[in-house]
């Protein structure tokens, strides 16, 4: 089992280490993008309207109110 995990680790490690310039640039773009999406956009701008309510009952109540007003 340990051997399999080591092999998988080495596979990815070597792959990333031997990656060319384009590959590195792409990974940089992916990481920046994910950071902006999850650490900035999701946290500060895309708050779920129902997330501020704790229980299912409260959420149901809000939606029912919205749907039947």
């Amino acid at each position: 089992m340990n051997r399999i995990i080591t092999n998988i680790w080495n596979f990815y490690y070597d792959g990333f280490r031997n990656m060319g310039k384009t590959g590195r640039t792409l990974w940089l773009i992916i990481l920046i993008k994910l950071f902006i999406m999850f650490a900035i956009l999701k946290v500060f701008f895309f708050k779920s309207e129902l997330a501020e309510y704790d229980s299912m009952e409260e959420k149901t109540e809000v939606v029912i109110r919205n749907l039947t007003k």
């Binding site: 060319g20 792409l26 993008k33 999701k42 939606v63 749907l67 039947t68």
Partner: protein
């Protein structure tokens, strides 16, 4: 003022996100298979040429995949923020397919993606080829689930509305997965992606031929892509016909908008080419088309498979009273907008009454309300609409987008045939006009693909969920300025990403297949 309402800004944001996401997805879906075909040739023949060719296209695939990955997640953010009523109302129906996508297909595709890129010297030829095929299949499996979710919005089935939670609950998973709308949508969408990827390969290869570079690589790439693209396009036409049939059954208003049809008739013609009368409304008797070239009885055949059959127009759908075959195969009379609205309001009021009765522990009143909900739930969404105009999508946008999609599709058939014809004659590299046509087809195929989504999504307005939840009831209670802010941030961020992709992609193309791939 332009985009003054919350629903408009929220829609614009969602549309831009979805369209941006769809710039990347189709190339990933199709190019994976083209690479797999090329690598299969390498493994079968042992010819290093095919390995080099596959590796070049893999680089293009990687850039597209990297920039496109996770752009769809913004859509999920928007569901919670801008469409909270909708997100709650759809319940697990939407959540289940998306969760399956995330857990199964995405991980499968990511695992084999790593072997495909890092594994050339680490695993055997056949193991690598398997990983390439599984990457291609994995990307397509991702598409299955999201398209099932989308199809459910166009034709809600396999669910039951729970008035206690105001959510739709899945009661028949297989009815959701194998709904005829979902099957057609999946096949139509992926084959569209295969055509798009084929044309991107043809376009890039044509550019090399014009530059007199990598001739053997380009000719063989064009041959592989043209065969794959042509076969895909045949399936695309077949599934397009199937999609139109499903639209006629479940979303007749969308079909009427696609055709600019206000008054239906027996033996309705299909408008092949036409120009809409811009002053036409549902309240006048003006001719909806300024000029047209039509196929006699074409729309009746497309919609009902019967030449003389009746196809309802926009006004017919608003007024009701015509006969049609429902989902269960029964002949029924269509209800008018006014009746549907009335029944929708009964269902909405009954939902409010049900919760009041529950709070007051009045079981009898709750039971009565429940009966009214169940009896009228099919028209629930109509209760939010005030005027019949609200039922009509943007006819010009749907009408012209449909013709752009079909027209370009026809052009691509010709392109594939001509490419294959001159390849066979051995004179393709001399036909400069055809090489230019290949290059010009790259932006055209993206326009074609986006036009298809415009038909599908603008055409089903005002509904987020067909007949059950219109846009105006689905949207959250945000301020217009909040949504506009996120729209601007999104637009700036994604424009930078797109510019980055194009720059890297053009660099790879400029270096060409002659360079060692990294």
């Amino acid at each position: 003022m332009f985009l003054s309402s919350l629903a408009d800004v929220s829609r614009l944001q969602f549309a831009l996100t979805a369209m941006f996401h769809w710039i990347f997805v189709p190339l990933t879906l199709g190019l994976g298979f083209i690479i797999a075909f090329m690598e299969t040739k390498y493994v079968r023949s042992g010819d290093e040429f095919w390995k080099k060719t596959a590796k070049f296209w893999m680089n293009v695939f990687a850039v597209n995949f990297a920039i496109g990955v996770a752009t769809g997640i913004i859509l999920e953010f928007e569901f919670g923020t801008n469409w909270s009523n909708y997100s709650w109302f759809v319940g697990d129906i939407f959540g289940a397919p998306l969760a399956i996508e995330g857990i199964f297909a995405f991980f499968m595709e990511s695992t084999f993606f790593a072997i495909m890129f890092f594994g050339w010297n680490k695993v055997g030829k056949k193991a690598h080829l398997t990983a390439t095929w599984l990457t291609a299949i994995g990307t397509n499996l991702s598409a299955v689930w999201i398209l099932i979710a989308n199809s459910w919005m166009q034709f809600p089935t396999g669910m039951e509305f729970n008035p206690d939670t105001a959510r739709n609950e899945m009661v028949d998973f297989w009815a959701v997965v194998f709904s005829p709308v979902a099957i057609n949508k999946f096949l139509h969408t992926v084959t569209n992606a295969y055509v798009l990827a084929s044309i991107v390969v043809i376009g890039i290869s044509s550019w090399y031929l014009l530059k007199k570079r990598a001739t053997d690589f380009s000719l063989k790439s064009i041959k592989t892509a043209s065969i794959f693209g042509f076969v895909s396009l045949i399936v695309l036409i077949w599934t397009g016909d199937g999609s139109a049939y499903q639209v006629a059954k479940h979303q007749p208003m969308k079909l009427a908008a696609m055709e600019g049809l206000y008054r239906g008739e027996h033996g309705t013609p299909l408008v092949a080419v036409g120009m809409l009368n811009p002053s036409k409304t549902i309240h006048d008797d003006k001719d909806p088309l300024l000029f047209e070239i039509s196929i006699p009885q074409g729309l009746s055949i497309l919609a009902n498979r019967k030449p003389g059959s009746f196809v309802p127009g926009i006004n017919d759908i608003i007024e009701g009273g015509y006969e049609y075959t429902d989902h269960n195969g029964n002949t029924v009379t269509a209800v008018s907008f006014e009746e549907a609205k009335e029944r929708g309001r009964i269902a909405i009021n009954a939902l409010a009454g049900y919760h009041e009765a529950k709070k007051a522990s009045d079981e009898e009143a709750a039971q009565n309300a429940l009966t009214n909900i169940r009896k009228n739930f099919d028209y629930f969404g109509y209760g939010y609409l005030d005027k019949p105009e609200e039922l009509v999508p943007n006819v010009p946008l749907v009408f012209y987008a449909f013709r752009i999609m079909v027209g370009l599709g026809m052009f691509f058939i010709l392109l594939f045939i001509l490419k294959l014809f001159y390849l066979r004659k051995g004179t393709l590299q001399e036909k400069k006009w055809l090489l230019y046509a290949g290059i010009i087809s790259v932006p055209l195929v993206y326009i074609c693909s986006q036009a298809g989504w415009i038909v599908a999504e603008v055409g089903r307005q005002p509904w987020t969920i067909q007949d059950l939840l219109p846009i105006k009831a689905a949207v959250s209670g945000n301020s217009v300025s909040d949504v506009t802010t996120t729209l601007v941030i999104f637009f700036v961020l994604f424009s930078i990403l797109l510019a980055a992709e194009l720059r890297i992609m053009f660099n790879i193309i400029k270096k060409g297949p002659e360079t060692k791939q990294s």
